[in-house]
Amino acid sequence: MNKVRIREPFGDRVFLIVVKIMLAVALVVVLLPLLYIVASSLSSPDAVNSGRVTFWPVEFSTEAYRNVLSNAEVLRGYYNSLIYAVAGTLISVTLTVAIAYPLSRKTFYGRNVLMTLLIFTMLFSGGLIPTYMVVHDLGMLDTRWALLIPNAIGVWQVIIARTFFANSIPDELYEAAMLDGASELRVLRSVVLPLSKPLLAVLALMYTIYQWNTYFDALVYLKDPDLYPLQIVLRNMLILDKSRTGAVDLAQQMHQLQLANVLKYALIVVSSVPVLAIYPFVARHFTKGVMVGAVKG
């Protein structure tokens, strides 16, 4: 049997082509800068400095990567950022669940007051200096704690978690667990958390990406270069141009200078790879998390 297809009207087909062209333009605009960076990072210093690189490596070379990956500052930044990301995520997810779960229970007296208290911190804040004073008074300045604790809980993340618990854990489950004589913490550990893996994944992801990408807290609270996260190292090398060269003779210095630019491209790639590599796998969960929070609970 012949399949009868209703052709769309002429105007609609033209419209669809225009839409596709627009999307193609958007695609190109986002993609080209990224391609340029990757291409430059894989080209020879000479090709980059003379402006011959566009969107494909010219005189393919991995020298920049070898340099970046043997740079002590970069490696230490990487190491520190890993610590901050792992420890920070553990602390943040734990604290977020600890406040979001009770807030999700309908019989938890005081939940409205508590929620108002949280929301208010979104609308109004003490600001940079008063927060700095507290961190100072607690003796956290120039310690790893300064990056892990003062911004540990995001109110937005609490709202996401609370909405998830309230909507996806049926009340009957609580009643059943209570009849079995389980304590509240036991219920949380053995019933609620195993059912909340998607939520925990989303929270962990959000906090990890925050820790990996932020530099503000480190800028404000840290003076000791040994504690610098990767983003501060990047800022010093990429934006303030403060990379140390150990070159002695002139020829070597010239080469180092040439290399410096290519190093920047390689550094950008190396620092963004961890996040961009996991992103395609987690993007769906991430958006789901944003949606969950958007539903009023």
Partner: protein, 306 residues
């Protein structure tokens, strides 16, 4: 008329409600105490420390022991010629950012919603979403590399020219967040009742007409909330990016309130003045949020709070 059958028992008093809740949930109260302490220590105590905006802060005497000076810090701030520039720079940048970053994700989502699911749609979504995961430091670095006169794509020194600062700031922001924001609209579009589209089609509506009369009204509430959130965060405009894009040449337009607070407070160590500026900023921000929410409620009937 009739006595209600099964009418609710008279409401228990608050006190007995609290007692009952404690008996049931005492473990949860213990659990909540840690994050609650966090909010008190890192959010509410700093709020109380804002009093130093009205004092001559001395580290020896502490925030409570320091001497009151009334509104002196604010008078000094408002009469400082820098203040006008600062406020102007912050407001223009903030408005520009809201205006530019509102319509583009909307258009992107509407366009993506028109085409069939397939590799092209997936690719566009994946690629436009990706920059959201790149750090500000890296985005600014890319910008600087692309725009630097020697190796970049332009000849003029746009990074050192104050009049380019806002365009650079705003359009790199759109580049970074448009794909992410579009996802939210796409979800709203997916929630529109398909029968609306069907009946519009039967009535002979073109694609463009369906966008105008079905899609747009359908995502209006989402759009309003996004706009309120954006407007409410206007004064909380990113320190991170402005500070990174700043250089001595473009200060005339790139100095905004957050960067000024950082420099006054932590570099020049004038805690009271920096807190006064920050407090001023927070109050303006709060007012803006309330005003926008009020207007949105008036126009569309939906706001952040019901």
């Amino acid at each position: 008329m009739f006595p209600q059958i099964g009418a609710r028992a008279p409401r228990r008093s608050r006190w007995s409600q609290a007692q009952r809740s404690w008996r049931l949930h005492w473990q949860l109260y213990l659990l909540v105490s840690v994050p609650l302490a966090y909010f008190v220590v890192f959010k509410y105590i700093p709020m109380s420390f804002s009093v130093i905006a009205f004092k001559d802060y001395s580290p020896v005497l502490g925030p409570w022991g320091s001497e009151w000076v009334g509104l002196r810090n604010f008078q000094a701030l408002f009469s400082n010629p820098v203040f006008g520039t600062l406020l102007k720079n912050t407001l223009i940048l903030a408005f520009y950012l809201v205006l530019a970053s509102f319509p583009i994700p909307l258009l992107l989502a509407l366009a993506l919603n028109e085409i069939r699911n397939g590799w092209f749609k997936r690719t566009v979504q994946m690629v436009t979403y990706a920059p959201y995961f790149i750090s500000t430091v890296v985005v600014v670095s890319i910008t600087i590399l692309l725009l630097s006169p020697r190796i970049g794509i332009v000849d003029a020194n746009v990074l050192g020219d104050p009049s380019y600062f806002r365009h650079i700031y705003v359009w790199t922001d759109v580049w970074q967040t448009a794909g992410y924001s579009a996802v939210i609209y796409l979800a709203a579009l997916a929630g529109i009742d398909p029968t609306l589209h069907e009946s519009a089609k039967i009535d002979g509506a073109s694609r463009l007409q369906r966008i105008r009369h079905v899609d747009l009204p359908g995502i209006m509430p989402t759009a309003v909330i996004m706009l309120i959130l954006a407007a409410g965060n206007m004064m909380a405009i990113g320190f991170e990016k402005a500070y990174l894009l700043q250089n001595n040449l473009n200060l005339a337009q790139s100095e905004i309130i957050p960067t000024y607070v950082y420099k006054t407070g932590l570099i020049n160590a004038d805690f009271s003045m920096a807190t006064a500026v920050g407090l001023f900023n927070s109050v303006v921000n709060l007012c803006l949020l309330l005003v926008v929410n009020f207007i949105a409620k008036r126009i569309t009937g939906s706001g952040l709070w019901r």
